[in-house]
């Protein structure tokens, strides 16, 4: 069965192909010609949130939190930008980064080139920001880091990114001050998850404890995929520490460690778990009682406190349940301040305003960004009481309120 095609001489065929392609080009170019817009009609903010993967348990609700904020802003019409003499609404473009740095980066690239956003809110954690902020530098778009405060992010120059929190090394600052004054413990064991942030934060804690005269009898790093901590727990037990400190951003990892520690009879005087979002508290149940944690916000009654509580409520959570909600709140406020100050959506102007931001929250906490890009927010020590996190701050109050876990799981 032979269907002989109409044979055209090769040269003519080539010419035809060339003509077709040139026509295709012209069509594409014409159809996609850049249409310049004089005034923008909205403020496009691009972000990714970890809606799946290990970080879902710690920042999962923050997509809703951002939407709640945008709704609130738009309810007032939006943000007034002087250059256009208009109040522009906020439009969020968000994707799920699946808790993976490289996925996050590809989404930020997409946000820059396809969604053409005006500014970025970074993903969760230094590890992911380390990857994703490359897009900010490549495409020169202002990048507001919500949680990401490790030296690696700020030691290499990148004028397009900044964060409102103080550096990771200082994350345990206030907790260290508490322990510096607390009597009854001498030795610490510190376990960190093998990840950028946890390693640096844990080291910061260790340094401060040593300065206060404490002895670190165990300090190690466990891989992210660790599910069986039995060997590690054995080693910690052998070191016989008074306090066991666990630094981990991923709830599944933290939960497994704590459950197994309980099972295997690791019963120190105090247990410090830097991040205790409500999934971890729930997983442990009553065993979570008196665990020491840190939170990026604290109880209070100022208008800002109330606004934070309302945003959380709109996202279906409570303020203390997801520590970083406090940071997100500050980041949203920071974006509002920067945009108002810049008065325009032009990238360079917004970038400058991002660094020049200077505002106060909660009736007293001043937020400023230094030249390197670090902010000034710090954590507050907390303790789990009956399934909720209560404040161990200010220092005197914390010293009085603190109760030892004394090995009671």
């Amino acid at each position: 069965m032979n269907r002989s095609p109409r044979r055209t001489p090769p040269v003519a065929a080539l010419r035809r192909a060339l003509a077709t392609w040139l026509a295709a080009f012209a069509l594409v170019a014409g159809a996609g010609a850049v249409r310049a817009q004089d005034t923008p009609s909205e403020i496009r903010i691009g972000a990714t949130v970890s809606l799946s993967g290990p970080y879902q348990g710690i920042v999962g609700p923050f997509g809703k939190l951002a939407s709640a904020w945008a709704e609130r802003v738009n309810a007032k019409g939006g943000i007034f930008l002087k250059q256009y003499n208009k109040t522009l609404p906020v439009k969020l473009v968000m994707y799920d980064d699946k808790s993976e740095p490289t996925t996050a980066l590809s989404f930020y690239e997409r946000l820059a080139t396809v969604d053409k956003v005006d500014l970025f809110i970074g993903p969760f954690s230094s590890g992911m920001n380390n990857a994703a902020m490359q897009a900010a530098l490549t495409h020169q778009i202002p990048y507001f880091i919500p949680e990401g405060n490790d030296a690696v992010l700020f030691d290499t120059p990148n004028p397009w990114r900044a964060t409102a929190t103080a550096q990771a090394d200082a994350e345990y600052q206030r907790l260290s001050e508490l322990y510096a004054r607390l009597k009854g413990v001498k030795t610490f064991a510190i376990l960190a998850r093998d990840n950028l942030h946890e390693i640096a934060a844990a080291q910061g804690f260790a340094n401060r404890l040593k300065q206060s005269g404490y002895q670190i009898v165990y300090q190690d790093v466990a891989p992210k995929e660790t599910k069986d901590f039995a060997s590690i727990i054995l080693k910690i037990k052998q070191a016989n520490p008074d306090v066991v400190s666990v630094e981990g951003l991923a709830p599944p990892w933290t939960i497994q460690f704590l459950k197994q520690a309980r099972e295997l009879g690791l019963a120190p005087k105090d247990v410090v778990v830097s991040h205790m979002p409500v999934p971890v508290i729930r997983a442990l149940g009553d065993a979570s009682e008196n665990v020491i944690a840190m939170l990026w916000s604290y109880e209070g009654d100022t208008p800002d406190h109330r606004e934070l509580d309302e945003l959380c409520k709109a996202a279906g959570i409570e303020r203390w349940q997801y520590s970083e909600a406090g940071v997100r709140f500050v980041t949203y406020r920071w974006i509002e301040e920067a945009l108002k100050r810049a008065g325009t959506l032009e990238h360079e102007a917004v970038r400058k305003a991002m660094f020049e931001a200077d505002f106060t929250l909660y009736g007293g906490d001043r937020v400023r960004i230094n030249e390197k890009g670090y902010g000034s927010l710090m954590t507050y020590p907390m303790q789990v009481r009956q399934g909720r996190l209560v404040s161990l701050w200010p220092l005197e109050h914390g010293l009085a309120a603190h109760a030892f876990k004394d090995g009671r799981w």
Partner: protein
């Protein structure tokens, strides 16, 4: 390091290796009989863990009960899986069959993984029951009661499997096909059905392992593929075609992870792969392989 600590590490390793061995045995059955590297094996483990968790979390059913109720359903699922996806490939040339089976099982694994991820949206991503029922303490060696029970169940299942393979017609047929498919066929064994049975059985074991895993540890939608590859490494290390080799492989991996994990947690996770490469370089057919 004193003797009690060594004992603790060894016991931890054995307890940990048990669940590995169970799931790996399932995969070995499938490979031994049908010659297919079922890349979706770990997904069945994950799915059963998922279902077990839901049964416990939403319906309040005792998960140990679920360990007995749910895996049999997965036998049927495994059998059906073979029937629908693998049997059509039977008549292809060896090389082509391997490639097709790889694609088919890989595709299935991706489907299961994604559907499970999607179904987890908004709820906890990692599912874990993790009862606390105390521990037995002998000297300074701590034996978590939950892990002991799980290990006991693993041994029970393995004993049942051994009994099945040695004392039932179907079991003997499975062994026969594993040793020599053509020979078994000539002896009157319906290899097509036995392939299905092997898949069903293997999937049953994976499901049981998944239920046990979610009870004492955790299961997330993404564990499937990495676990499958780890089990494949275990059975290749133990020697394809040797069930004892697989059990041995699982044990060795469990022990190594425990001991290495004590000295350097970082390498504890990869010791399985290191061992595989090491063993294969010395014994190209695996420890007890034919």
């Amino acid at each position: 390091m004193d003797i009690q600590s060594v004992l603790q590490l060894v016991i931890n390793g054995i307890l940990g290796g048990g669940v590995y061995a169970l799931a790996a045995l399932g995969l070995a059955l499938i490979f031994g009989v049908s010659g297919v590297l079922n890349l979706a094996h770990g997904e069945f483990l994950m799915l059963c863990g998922f279902v077990t968790f839901l049964g416990y979390d939403r319906l309040g059913i005792n998960p140990f009960l679920l360990v007995f109720l749910i895996p049999p359903v997965f036998f049927a699922l495994g059998y059906g899986f073979e029937r629908i996806l693998i049997r059509p490939l039977a008549l292809r040339k060896e090389h082509v069959r391997l490639a097709s089976a790889t694609l088919v099982t890989l595709g299935a694994a991706l489907i299961f993984e994604d559907v499970a991820s999607f179904a987890s949206a908004g709820t906890e991503f990692d599912k874990s029951i993790g009862y606390f029922i105390g521990s037995l303490t002998v000297g300074s060696v701590v034996l978590p009661s939950l892990k002991l029970i799980i290990f006991g169940l693993v041994l029970l299942l393995m004993a049942q499997l051994a009994w099945f393979l040695k004392y039932t017609y179907v079991g003997l047929a499975v062994q026969a096909v594993t040793q020599n498919a053509r020979g078994a066929q000539l002896s009157g064994v319906n290899t097509a059905t036995i392939n299905g049975v092997a898949f069903g059985l293997g999937t049953f074991l994976a499901a049981a392992a998944g239920a046990l895993e979610v009870i004492h540890s955790s299961v997330s939608p993404l564990v499937g593929l990495p676990l499958t590859l780890k089990y494949l490494c275990i059975i290749v290390m133990g020697g394809l075609g040797s069930f004892a080799g697989v059990a041995l492989g699982g044990l060795i991996i469990g022990l190594s992870e425990s001991i290495v994990g004590y000295f350097t947690p970082a390498w504890g996770q990869t010791v399985a792969y290191l061992l595989l490469v090491g063993v294969l370089l010395v014994r190209p057919k695996g420890l007890l392989g034919r």
